[in-house]
Each structure stands twice: as structure tokens, then as C-alpha cells.
């Protein structure tokens, strides 16, 4: 299975590092009062995945463990034993399944012990952006400079009876690049709306979650890069609407004398392509074209004389076959980091070139394919 290394699945665990006193019977048996539970256990990774292998390491300030006879147990079953065995590995249980780790160490008549409990939990950390994508788009909205990130943590803290700890009763701590985001953190704050990464930057978002009594805890992280808005140009057909299924390529042939094109600013900071903050600058054959104020994302081209019906810029026949180099620069009135440029070479004709048999097959011709 392919997984993103930098987008760690929200896997975590709960383990008790508190050192429990063993029963008085054992205490009496081994003598040396105060030596029980003086061994601390470090679990790596801190938040292990369900059914994964974890590394255990024992440390003690009271006993020289390197000289001690050590016995490791998992759920009462011995998993490792030997002189100076301060480290071992164990496979933890499934999601929500408790694994009890115990360690005992003995040097002569001196004995010490320690315990830990590992309960793997899971946190899914989902994200998307509020950047613009057109209606019916099947892909995800990605963050560009100036847009916001929508984040959602979905914790799975499974209790012993199989039920889940309600997400609303979990405390969430959100961090960006290691810094606490106080305003987004708190009880039940499983969702967050944060500014997206700046231009060309990649932010690391971490969410830590725990119950109020710290019985269950977990963490998940994401690396989220900023993308540049993508301008795609589509035909806006009077019959079919905008042909979102066919973005025009750099060279495009359209066998009509008049056609409307629309620019769609994917991932831009906008609510629509005609958002008032978006500034379109169209150039056709190096001539600046004033776009329609009510629909600046659209431009209509025609070969020949301008028609009185035109509401959008008119393209005079720059060449005999109506070839035009269309350049579009897109900026944002309030976001100086947003700037995208694209160029298309569009040929308009009144029909297929029957004499030569050519129908522009060397170019992207949507009509050729019945569009």
C-alpha cells in the first residue's frame, strides 16, 4: 500500500508510564522497600499504529539494569529475558486493544519493576482548501497563497466495550510548524480553519488529541504544500455550456468564426471565476483587450467585422485564418502573491478546410471529436 511518508496516519496510543506499586505480598517477598516500579519504560514510536511493532526501552535510576536479570512480559506472557536486556520489541494489539507491558529486574536479592499500557488509537487528519474549483469538479480544492485550509481530525479512541470516545469530549491541540494555535485548540475543536501556506511554502500541521483524564491520546500530522493557481481555458458552447471535460491545449483549432472562451482559475482565492477581486488582463495578438465587466473571465472571438450582438471583445482577423495568440494574466486585488499567466494559440475558421482535407488534426480540435 502506498502511503505518504510526510502525512502520517493519525495513529496513536495510550500508555501509562506511571509506575504502579506491586502488591504487598511481592513487596515483602523481595525486600528492599521502594524499589518497585522504579523502572520507566519508553515506547517508540510514541504513537504506534495498531498491530505494529514498537520498541521498548527500560531505564532506572535506582538499579543498574545492565547488570540485572531482566524479564519483559506482554499481557502476562514473557517476550524477552536475559541479563542486561534493557530493550526489546513487541507487537501491539489492534485498534483499541490494550497491551500491558511489564518488566522486572533483579540483582541478587534486589528487585525492581515497571509497567506500561499501550492502547493504539487512530486519528485521521483530513484537509482541503476553500480555493476555487468549478461546479461538478471531481478533484480536491488545493491551497494556494491567500486561501484557507479546512482541517478535520477524526479520532478513533476505542474503549474496552468497543464504543468510541465521542469526538466532542476530546481535547484537541493544533500546531503549525511546531507553534501552538491557541485559537483553534480546545475541547471538541476537531475542526479548524487556518490560513493556507504562503507562496511556495510547505506547512506542517499537527493535531494532538487526548481525553480529559489522559487515558487516551494520539496525534496526527500533515505536510501541506502551497500550489500555484492553474488557469484552464474552455469553450463556452451555446448548446452544451462550458466544456469542462476539455481544457484547451496550447494550440487549439476551432472551426467556427465566433466562439466564447472562459478561463477557470483552479485553486485561486476566489468564490467564482468572476469574483470582483480577480483581475483578468487579456491580450490578443499583443493587443490589450478590455474584458466584459460583468463576466471578465470570458472572451468572445470572431473573424471579420464586429457584430452588433457582441458583448465581449471582438477579435479582428489578425491573419487570414484568424489565428490569435491569447495571453491571460490573472492577479488578485487583495492578494499580491497571486499571479498566474497562460498563453494559447487559437485558430478560428468558418469550417473545415475541405479543399486540403485538413481539419486541424495536428491541434486540439474539440469539434473534430464531436465535442
Amino acid at each position: 500500500m502506498i502511503t505518504m511518508a510526510d502525512s502520517l496516519k493519525g495513529l496513536s496510543f495510550v500508555f501509562f508510564l506511571s509506575l504502579f506499586l506491586y502488591p504487598a505480598l511481592l513487596h515483602a517477598q523481595f525486600g528492599l522497600p521502594g524499589a518497585e516500579n522504579t523502572i520507566s519504560i519508553t515506547v517508540t514510536p510514541q504513537y504506534p499504529a495498531p498491530s505494529s511493532s514498537v520498541h521498548l526501552k527500560a531505564e532506572s535510576n535506582l538499579l543498574d539494569l545492565s547488570r540485572a536479570l531482566i524479564t519483559w512480559s506482554s499481557n502476562g506472557k514473557t517476550i524477552a529475558s536475559g541479563d542486561g536486556t534493557t530493550e526489546t520489541d513487541v507487537t501491539v494489539g489492534a485498534l483499541g486493544q490494550q497491551t500491558s507491558i511489564t518488566i522486572t529486574a533483579a540483582i541478587d536479592s534486589t528487585r525492581a519493576s515497571g509497567a506500561a499500557v499501550v492502547i493504539p488509537t487512530q486519528i485521521d487528519l483530513l484537509y482541503e482548501s476553500n480555493s476555487y474549483t468549478p461546479p461538478f469538479y471531481r478533484g480536491r480544492a488545493l491551497p494556494s497563497a491567500g486561501t484557507m485550509l479546512r482541517l478535520q481530525a477524526i479520532p478513533r479512541f476505542t474503549k474496552g466495550d468497543g464504543s468510541l470516545v465521542p469526538a466532542a469530549s476530546i481535547i484537541y491541540i493544533w500546531k503549525r510548524n511546531g507553534e501552538l494555535i491557541q485559537a483553534a485548540s480546545g475541547l471538541g475543536r476537531s475542526a479548524a480553519l487556518l490560513p493556507g501556506p504562503t507562496l511556495f511554502a510547505t506547512d506542517t500541521i499537527v493535531v494532538e488529541a487526548h481525553t480529559s483524564d489522559n487515558t487516551y491520546s494520539g496525534s496526527a500530522s500533515l505536510r501541506i504544500p502551497s500550489v500555484e493557481p492553474v488557469i484552464a481555458l474552455y469553450l463556452d458552447s451555446a448548446l452544451f455550456g462550458i466544456l469542462y471535460h476539455q481544457a484547451l491545449s496550447v494550440r487549439t483549432f476551432v472551426p467556427n468564426t465566433e466562439m466564447t472562451f472562459v478561463a477557470v482559475p483552479y485553486f485561486a482565492q476566489a468564490y467564482s471565476p468572476d469574483d470582483q477581486n480577480l483581475q483578468y488582463e487579456w491580450h490578443v495578438n499583443s493587443q490589450k483587450i478590455s474584458a466584459d465587466a460583468t463576466r471578465p473571465s470570458a472572451i468572445t472571438f470572431s473573424i471579420g467585422s464586429p457584430s452588433p450582438f457582441f458583448v465581449s471583445p471582438f477579435l479582428s482577423a489578425g491573419s487570414s485564418d484568424g489565428t490569435a495568440i491569447v495571453e491571460l494574466s490573472l492577479t488578485h486585488a487583495a492578494n499580491y502573491l497571486m499571479s498566474s499567466n497562460s498563453t494559447w494559440n487559437i485558430s478560428l475558421k468558418s469550417g473545415f478546410d475541405q479543399a486540403s482535407g485538413s481539419n486541424g488534426s495536428a491541434t486540439n480540435n474539440p469539434f473534430e471529436q464531436g465535442f
Binding site: 496516519k9 469538479y137 480536491r140 484552464a232
Partner: protein
């Protein structure tokens, strides 16, 4: 006044008259050429607008659209003739509709199964008989510019479009009163209900008149609602801060939601239960596309990251995922239905996948969803349990198309899909006996 003076005046007047005549003739000639050029321009513009096209024909089983609209959008293409009233077994790969299609689905019609589809330009619903090739228009309610359409197998249809303000309009209609195929000589109005505006995503139950859809909510961000086809009995079953979901409602009643995919971006998928508790199906998969199977815990899923694709299968939640030897996305796959022999249900896990013969440069999913790239696919049959795949047809046998939104009929004999390059509708017959190889 002397004679000489009189002659001089006459001469001057004569010259003046001649000059006036010359100037007038020159002006008339100029005016003629000016008018001629203007007339040519006007004719050219009118032709571009379709003013010069022939009067519409209101005849033919396919309705007027094919004859009239199609001739205007591709006047020189000989392959664009509609496949109306063929009355013979179609070729193995049948181009049902040259016109752009908004969506298609298999619908039971008596003892047989028909393919119903919505024409994008008009919203008219057509039926196509996979056995005879007969193509019939069954509705006459004009709903222009349909971007997306869904069918249930018992005759309900969803048509989605945009209004002038850019709002998403969703119409839920029923074909229950539509004529049976034997008497399909007249068209009927498409009756139904307009659902609330700006439904973001939508899934239909394959067999019952129920819809699940998501809308924006000021408090929760997004809410998911179940409702009957006519908009009644609404029940909110889901809420999320994440808005970009794709949804599938399986015949067994399970409702599966999957985050919209992007290359190199982790995606998650869940099952939404009646109690709103989300059960994780698969997660943390880069560029996740998912195809769950009805009446089975098996899933197919695709991953897109690092500029390549991979396809994976899981038989159930406990079994580790197996990578299949195909580079494609789950959007291009369908599960073969279970077949019942006597009382025994064959739960063999087969799937059919269209696989790009070559992948375009760069990340695939984002470009494909934007319509910036298209592929030429070949069909493969996947044995999920063994993790193997074999080619169904060689690329030389069938036209290579960019397969999108494939759907399979209950018998498992036909796959209908849309060619993403031009949104034409195609049908692939899977029974190989007597298969023709033409693509007319």
C-alpha cells in the same frame, strides 16, 4: 451675348455633365463592391450562428436533436450519424451517442435491460437497446445544458445543471410513466421535482427512490441529507467540516463517502451509517479513488502519487491490500456482479478496468479531472482474489477511448461508459461470442 460665348458655355456644361456622370458611375461601382463585401461578412457571421442551417426535422426515433443539432456541430464528420433504429445486434463496442451525454445507466424495461442516457444539450432522455441497437427518445421536456445525470435501475433520473447566476440546479424526475420499449413511438414529459439549490455532491440508491446529497451549512460546514425522490422525508445523517466528498450508494444500502482526490494528497474513505458514525474503509492513500463492491467488504482503490498510478484491492478489512498489476484509477473500473447459478451465488471477485496504454507526463489525476489530458485505454479483467489481471481485448481490436464513469448491467454482459474526451456514450459487450469489432 456672342456666339463664341454661347459655345463656350455649352462646352463647359457638357464637360460638367460628363464629369458628373463619371463620378456617379464610379460611386455606384464603389457602392456595389462595398455592399457585396458587407453581405459576405453578414452571411459569414450568420452561418457561424447557424442562421443558414436547414429547417429542423421533427422526425426519427431519435428525435430531432440528432438530425439537427449534430449536423451543426460536426457538419463534415461522416461518423457522426446517429445510431437510431439500427434493429440489429450492435457491434461489440457500440458508440451509442455521438452527441455529448451527461450521464447514463442501465434501467430495467420489462424482461430486458435498456441503457438510458441524458443528452447534455437538451436534457432529453434516450433509451438504447443493447440487443437490437434501437435508439429511442423517450422524453420531450427540454432542460438545456445538463452537466451531470444519474439513473436508478428502476427508472428514476437526476439531471443537474447551472442557472444564469451559476447556482447548481438539481432536478429529480421519474420515468415510471415512460412508454415501454415496444410502443416507444411517442415521447413523454419528464415529471419530477426541483431539489434545493447548490447541492454539492449527490448519490442515488440504485434500486429505491432515495437520494443522498450534501449542501453547505452555516454551522456545520457541510451536511448530508437523505430524502425521497420528491424531496420529502428529509433526514440529516452526516455533517463535516470537509466539503469535497464523492459519494456512492450501494445496492446493499451502504453509503460510502470518499474525499475528492488529488495527486500526492492523502485521501480517506468512510461508510456513513444511519447513526452518523463513520466507519473507516481506507485512508491515508495518496490520490485515493475508490470503488466499493455491493454486498461485499471488498474494495478496489487507486493511488496517484509521484507521477504514477497504482491499483489495489482489499477482499475485506482484515486482509492486507494487494497491489494489482495495472496502472489506472478506480474511476475507470467496475465490479462484475455476482452471478446466481441455481441457488448458489457465485461471489467470485472480478472487476473490469480500463487501463491507459500510456500515462501522460506529470501527475495524472488533477490533469484528467480538469480535462487537460485524455488517455487511450484498453480493457482488462481483474481477478481480485488472486491479484491477477488479463487483457480482454487487444488495442487493435477495439477503438481506444478515455473511459469515464463506467457502469455494468446486472447480468454482467454490458459495460456502458462515457468517453471523457468528448463525452460520447459507448457500450462494450462482454460476451465474446459473435462479437463484431467495428465501432460504428
Amino acid at each position: 451675348m456672342t456666339k463664341t460665348t454661347t459655345q463656350r458655355i455649352i462646352t463647359i456644361v457638357s464637360y460638367l455633365i460628363i464629369m458628373v456622370l463619371i463620378v456617379s458611375l464610379t460611386g455606384l461601382v464603389g457602392w456595389y463592391f462595398f455592399l457585396r463585401s458587407k453581405t459576405a461578412t453578414i452571411v459569414s457571421i450568420n452561418t457561424a450562428r447557424g442562421f443558414g442551417t436547414a429547417a429542423p426535422l421533427f422526425e426519427g426515433a431519435g428525435g430531432s436533436t440528432y438530425q439537427n443539432v449534430l449536423s451543426n456541430i460536426a457538419p463534415n464528420s461522416s461518423s457522426t450519424a446517429p445510431s437510431v433504429s439500427i434493429k440489429r445486434k450492435p457491434p461489440q463496442l457500440w458508440k451509442i451517442s455521438q452527441n455529448p451525454v451527461a450521464g447514463a445507466g442501465f434501467v430495467k424495461s420489462g424482461a430486458s435491460t435498456m441503457i438510458y442516457f441524458v443528452e447534455r444539450a437538451t436534457g432529453y432522455i434516450f433509451s438504447a437497446d443493447p440487443e437490437t441497437g434501437e435508439l429511442v427518445r423517450i422524453t420531450n421536456t427540454l432542460r438545456p445544458k445538463i452537466y451531470e445525470a444519474f439513473f436508478t435501475n428502476n427508472g428514476f433520473v437526476i439531471e443537474r445543471s447551472l442557472d444564469d447566476a451559476g447556482n447548481i440546479v438539481t432536478f429529480a424526475g421519474t420515468l415510471l410513466a415512460a412508454p415501454a420499449k415496444e410502443s416507444a413511438t411517442t415521447t413523454e414529459a419528464l415529471r419530477g421535482t426541483l431539489l434545493e439549490r447548490n447541492i454539492i455532491s449527490l448519490a442515488v440508491h440504485p434500486a429505491s427512490p432515495e437520494i443522498f446529497y450534501t449542501t453547505l451549512d452555516a454551522k456545520a460546514g457541510l451536511v448530508g441529507t437523505r430524502t425521497l425522490w420528491n424531496g420529502s422525508k428529509m433526514k440529516q445523517v452526516f455533517s463535516s467540516n470537509i466539503l469535497d466528498w464523492r459519494m456512492v450508494w450501494l445496492a446493499d444500502g451502504r453509503l460510502i463517502i470518499t474525499q475528492k482526490a488529488a495527486d500526492n494528497t492523502a485521501g480517506y474513505s468512510y461508510e456513513v451509517s444511519q447513526t452518523s458514525v463513520q466507519k473507516s474503509l481506507i485512508g491515508n492513500v495518496s490520490g485515493l479513488t475508490l470503488l466499493p463492491r455491493a454486498s461485499s467488504p471488498a474494495i478496489l482503490y487507486g493511488a496517484s502519487g509521484g507521477g504514477t498510478l497504482s491499483l489495489w484491492a482489499k477482499i475485506d478489512q482484515k486482509t492486507p491490500a494487494v497491489q494489482l498489476p495495472l496502472k489506472t484509477v478506480a474511476d475507470k473500473c467496475v465490479w462484475a456482479p455476482s452471478k446466481t447459478v441455481g441457488k448458489v451465488v457465485d461471489m467470485t471477485l472480478f472487476a473490469y478496468c480500463a487501463v491507459p496504454q500510456t500515462l501522460p507526463d506529470g501527475d495524472f489525476l488533477d490533469q484528467w479531472y480538469r480535462g487537460a489530458v485524455h488517455t487511450e485505454d484498453s480493457w482488462w479483467k481483474v481477478d481480485v482474489k488472486s491479484g491477477t489481471a488479463k487483457a480482454l481485448f487487444s488495442s487493435a481490436q477495439l477503438a481506444s477511448l478515455d473511459v469515464d464513469r463506467p457502469t455494468i448491467d446486472e447480468s454482467g454482459n454490458y459495460i456502458a461508459f462515457i468517453n471523457a474526451a468528448d463525452t460520447s456514450l459507448w457500450l462494450l459487450r462482454l460476451d465474446l461470442e459473435g462479437a463484431a469489432t467495428s465501432t460504428d
